[in-house]
């Protein structure tokens, strides 16, 4: 998708106009694969942490499927491991999530008029990666929407749950993500996505303000990167 020379599901059916829901789901599912690799390494790292918190496969998979917010899970469980109370761990974990409010709010045109189950499914499967990828794909002129997001979310959730369970089961055999550079995977993915979101010089001011405020706050207030 990001490389027009590659076999791209969107590119191949582009001439037909709007994709069917299934074609869109498939395109979202395939396009998210590079980001799913990043999620796999983070999932395995979370599994290591979950093992330290005394969590088993059952708790880890339930948490991955129902919470489905990597940074929240990592921070919450890390707090628990370091001896914080459940309430303190919960607050620390949830403090990372308000950005998701803005993300699902921006989906209003994609969710408008859909049955309740599709709204519930769509918001649950919204994460940084598939949400940003959907916007980046749109910025390149492809008419993708709800099912593209859900396709990407479905693969991310499956990979996330599988990787966290793998991590908790084989916690002694895995290298730390930092030692092989994989902790940098999402940072570089966001750089690539940001390049695709660029619409022109009109974006410069809002982006700089956003970057400056977030960067300054992060320097002044100790917060965890999400």
């Amino acid at each position: 998708m990001f490389d027009m020379q590659m076999e791209s599901p969107v590119a191949t059916v582009e001439s037909l106009g709007r994709l069917s829901p299934w074609q869109e789901f498939r395109a979202g599912f395939l396009d998210i694969i590079p980001l799913a690799f990043g999620a796999a390494f983070y999932g395995a790292a979370f599994g290591l942490l979950a093992a330290q918190a005394g969590m088993g496969e059952m708790q880890t998979s339930v948490m991955g499927a129902f919470v489905f917010a990597g940074s929240s899970q990592i921070v919450g469980v890390e707090r628990l491991v370091s001896g914080a109370s459940v309430i303190a761990a919960l607050m620390a974990g949830l403090a990372l999530n308000p950005r998701i409010l803005l993300m699902t709010a921006s989906l209003r045109d994609d969710l408008k008029g859909r049955p309740v189950w599709q709204i519930l499914l769509g918001v649950h499967l919204t994460s940084d990666e598939n949400w940003a990828l959907m916007h980046a794909t749109r910025a390149k002129g492809h008419a993708v929407g709800y099912w593209y997001l859900v396709g990407g979310g479905a693969l991310l959730l499956s990979v996330w749950v599988a990787a966290t369970v793998f991590g908790v089961s084989f916690s002694k055999l895995l290298p730390a993500p930092r030692s092989i550079g994989m902790d940098f995977a999402f940072t570089v993915a966001f750089i690539a996505i940001l390049c695709n979101l660029w619409r022109g010089t009109g974006d410069l001011l809002p982006w700089m303000v956003s970057l400056g405020c977030a960067g300054t706050l992060a320097l002044l207030v100790p917060i965890e990167a999400s």
């Binding site: 990001f2 980001l35 660029w198 970057l211 990167a225």
Partner: protein, 97 residues
């Protein structure tokens, strides 16, 4: 119930409420003028903010690797290639600095 289960339950309810709350908020806001422009500017601003938060906590190796990744992204517009270049760069730079 154990601490772990309480945390799982709390994070599940809290995170889902935020996700659904965003939908409710979005559906209630007017779909004209300034709100439309704000929502169309949101993806780029949010990703820029995420990157700022991550990068201020990193060091020179990561900043150089991020600059290399930016160059690759601008030249190729290719996500997998950018990820591979950035991860390789950070591995090399961390060893050499």
């Amino acid at each position: 119930m154990t601490d772990q289960w309480w945390l799982i339950l709390g994070l599940t309810l809290g995170t889902f409420s935020i996700r659904l709350g965003g939908y409710v908020l979005g559906a209630r806001l007017p779909s004209t003028g300034v709100w439309t422009r704000a929502f169309s500017a949101l993806p780029g601003c949010l990703i820029a903010a995420l990157l700022a938060v991550i990068l201020v906590q990193e060091n020179m190796s990561e900043w150089i690797a991020a600059a290399i990744a930016l160059a690759v992204a601008m030249l190729t517009r290719n996500l997998p290639l950018t990820m591979i270049a950035g991860i390789m760069a950070v591995r090399v730079l961390r060893v050499s600095t």
